[in-house]
């Protein structure tokens, strides 16, 4: 049985832990707000990009010699999985959920006889996949010590991916990230980047904010459809990557906030239980001492 002193120390330690988790929760809440704002602010660019890309792609006839970013390389032998995770842990199932989805897909592809290459963004994803898919990891990108991801970071990843694609190192690229649904819900998502998935032009035209002439507007292109399209396709990769990074950042903070909230509550429960136990034990000891004194007095 633990002595009273041990129990006092135990309670003190749980209280210290609660303070830390509480602080982490509040930090995550503050960061979440900023990350969410950044994710929302980035949305107009991505939306316009989708719209324009859809309308251009529908104009340019799909034919041989088309940009492989749009129509693919004609094979789907080598898959590149871009796995985006956080740099830090202590955020509930956030990192492992993304890794789990990526791992399941990777194993499925490998079982089907395809070659899988993995590019990890964020330290935790690499750590998580290293054990069973270590040989498949071709590149690890880490953004340690970066407070806020911006377009520059997305650019860095996209230039690496595009360089690999130009060298013919893979045929299909898929991005794994956690979509930010709400503070308590983050959904691990897979999104195919190459070949590009183009939204249906008619659908995006309707959802367009101020599209006065709809998707039916007859555009002129300068310098030419092909050149505009190829520029857009490269841009699209980094735009999508940025979207993934920003959604991920918001999701990470959301996940951390709820994980730390749980931890704080658990600590409080534990403190209550321990305090009751401590008080009982203390009372028992006092009673025991009294009995000893009384029986000692009686014996005289």
């Amino acid at each position: 049985m633990a002595s009273l002193k041990d129990m006092r120390n135990r309670i003190a330690s749980v209280k210290a832990t609660r303070k830390i988790t509480k602080a982490m929760q509040m930090v995550a809440a503050a960061k979440l707000r900023r990350a969410q704002e950044a994710a929302t602010a980035a949305r107009p660019y991505a939306e316009r990009m989708d719209q324009v890309l859809a309308s251009v792609a529908s104009k340019v006839p799909t034919r041989e010699g088309q940009s492989p970013l749009l129509v693919g390389t004609g094979k789907d032998q080598v898959h590149l999985l871009i796995v985006m995770t956080a740099e830090r842990g202590l955020c509930g199932g956030f990192n492992s959920n993304i890794a789990k989805l990526a791992r399941a897909d990777a194993l499925k592809l490998m079982a089907a006889g395809k070659t899988v290459k993995i590019l990890t963004v964020g330290r935790k994803g690499a750590d998580n996949l290293r054990r069973d898919l270590g040989r498949q990891i071709v590149e690890r990108i880490e953004f340690r010590g970066i407070k806020q991801v911006n377009a520059g970071h997305a650019e860095e990843v996209s230039s690496k991916v595009l360089a690999m694609f130009e060298k013919g190192e893979f045929d299909v690229a898929t991005m794994y990230f956690a979509e930010f649904k709400s503070v308590i819900a983050q959904k691990p998502t897979a999104l195919q980047l190459i070949p590009a998935r183009i939204a249906d032009a008619s659908v995006s035209g309707k959802s367009g904010a101020v599209t006065t002439q709809g998707a039916t507007a007859v555009y002129e292109y300068e310098p030419s459809e092909e050149e505009v399209l190829s520029f857009l396709l490269t841009q699209n990769i980094s735009t999508q990557l940025l979207r993934g990074l920003l959604e991920n950042a918001a999701s990470e903070q959301g996940a951390r906030m709820s994980a730390m909230d749980n931890a704080t509550r658990n600590a409080a429960d534990m403190i209550n239980k321990l305090t009751i136990k401590y008080n009982r034990q203390r009372q028992a000891q006092i009673t025991k001492e009294l009995i000893e004194i009384i029986s000692g007095a009686e014996a005289l």
């Binding site: 602010a41 316009r48 377009a151 002129e220 292109y221 300068e222 841009q235 980094s238």
Partner: protein, 133 residues
């Protein structure tokens, strides 16, 4: 006078500018052009250069490194990767931008990239010259 149209300058991170403009001059890849209300729909690649935005009686100049413009009759959207107000581009900031652009020019491997980088250097130097004069 054809009236105003909506002009939006959007960077990957946020909407930088959203105004009712009278006219906007864009550095198109085949040459500068000016958009006014009722312009025929065009999608154009942009080269490094300055946008001149005339709105509500004032003119703002914004330097962009690359991007493209989506022109519609009553809406002009410019999606720019990197946009800076020219008034902010002074002294050390401008010098460092020129250095970055020159490094990009040296690193450029194909003609297209080299042309883009060259344009950026020239445009920035022109701005620096304009400031000094």
């Amino acid at each position: 006078m054809a009236g105003t149209f909506k002009f939006e300058l959007v960077s990957p991170e946020r909407i930088l500018m959203s105004v009712d403009a009278d006219q906007v001059r864009l550095p198109g890849s085949d040459g500068d052009f000016t958009v006014m209300a009722g312009h025929a729909p065009v999608i154009a690649n942009l080269r490094p250069g300055t946008l001149d935005v005339k709105a509500e009686g004032t003119t703002r100049r914004v330097f962009i490194k690359s991007g493209f413009a989506d022109v519609q009759a009553e809406l002009l959207t410019v999606l720019a990767k990197d946009a800076t107000d020219v008034s902010e581009l002074t002294g050390a900031r401008l010098t460092s931008e020129i250095e970055i652009a020159e490094a990009a020019l040296k690193a450029a491997t194909d003609d297209e990239a080299r042309r883009m980088a060259y344009d950026a250097v020239e445009q920035l130097k022109a701005l620096a010259g304009g400031k000094a004069a």
